[in-house]
Symmetry: C2
Subunit: 206 residues, 2 copies
DNA sequence: TGTACATCAGTGAACGCGCGTTCACTGATGTAC
DNA sequence: TGTACATCAGTGAACGCGCGTTCACTGATGTAC
């Protein structure tokens, strides 16, 4: 990996002075730190230690703690969207099935990466005015609006968007926080079916 | 207030050595601290300072930071339930209207006290194994189940509970975090009507 | 009613810790000539 | 192709800070006799 970026060098020094891709390594370390310590206990020094680098090094790439958390949150949103697309792939290509599947992906992401989910939806530490983070967040919102519009066959109303988003988000947040224990205890297939059902119901006309 | 608890004393010393009701004062201070600093920046010393007391004093009542946050979370759940009951009072006495009103109260609490809402639903800092906190949280769950059961006219199914809770919780969490900006921008009466509609829709059979 | 004493609530100094940040530095890279 | 030099990434020591916790203490309260 590291040697591939310098293919002319046959021998890699055991501990090179420059890291190679410290930025990426720090984001990875930051996710581990977040998972271990929670948003509340997250520290820049902890991330540097995990990446095997001096504690002042991260400043070159992210400025400060907030900068690193902002970059991690942006990455989190991109993976969040990616998980929804993956789940949509598994579903039938009807708009309603696609919408329900994106909701299922929403929940799956929250269950798979609860710390990241909490960072992007329930923390003030990242800078949500940051352009990269804004764009990543808006991509997630755009996917939702697209799916709702396709299902309704008309431009999505605010009622519909709020209903679908709230339902998916509520399920994701409650489940990833360990509430709704009865649902967590269900076999996965049954739970998934229930989530699809509930999301679809959110959009049915009353 | 303070002198009422010692009515035999005509003159109250200007700065009594004993506080009188430090426990309650600390919980109040803790809420202010939480609102100002967020769950992430909350500190025991900060609370003591707000209560006008030495920083070691809180230990007598709460042990440590976690203990104080646990007591605050329990108080938060009680107020959360109280807000739902108050909102139900404003609604018509039909089961469905009562259920929708409790959902509206859920959202109102989150908007009125976002920091407290985040503490009880999106933080690991309180000790959720604590008996007092458990009881307070279960009272909130009990109210939900009761309302769903009354509306269905039959014991609440897990599908119904999950659908209603998720919808109300999702609305509350997204709105209190400043997402769903279009909804936040609506006139209050219109917004309330929309919330009632969405909660009711969550329970309509598909 | 008065006195002695145990208990309790709050004080303030002290501690060690991990944190973010700064700074002079050094090793590596890449570019100009 | 070789050399000089600017730029950049990472180091490690140092700083000041706020934190939680401990501890000997003191003032107040309440109870036993």
């Amino acid at each position: 990996m590291h040697s591939q970026s310098h293919p002319d060098k046959a021998i890699e020094p055991s501990t090179p002075y420059h890291h190679g891709d410290l930025r990426a390594a720090l984001i990875k370390a930051a996710e581990a730190e977040l998972t271990d310590k929670g948003v509340e206990g997250f520290s820049l020094r902890g991330c540097a230690k995990r990446a095997g680098v001096s504690h002042a090094a991260p400043a070159h790439h992210f400025g400060d703690t907030r900068g690193l958390l902002t970059a991690l949150a942006a990455e989190g949103f991109r993976r969040f969207v990616a998980t929804q697309y993956e789940t949509m792939t598994e579903a039938e290509p009807h708009p309603q099935a696609q919408l329900a599947a994106s909701g299922l992906g929403y929940v799956r992401f929250a269950l798979a990466r609860p710390a990241l989910f909490r960072l992007i939806f329930s923390s003030d530490r990242p800078n949500f005015d940051n352009e990269e983070l804004c764009n990543a967040a808006e991509a997630a919102y755009g996917l939702l609006v697209e799916n709702v519009t396709a299902t309704c066959g008309a431009p999505a109303t605010i009622d519909d968007i709020a209903a679908v988003w709230s339902t998916a988000h509520g399920l994701a947040d409650l489940l990833s926080a360990g509430r709704l224990k009865d649902v967590l205890a269900m076999p996965e297939a049954e739970r998934d079916a229930m989530i699809l059902r509930i999301v679809i119901r959110a959009l049915s006309p009353a």
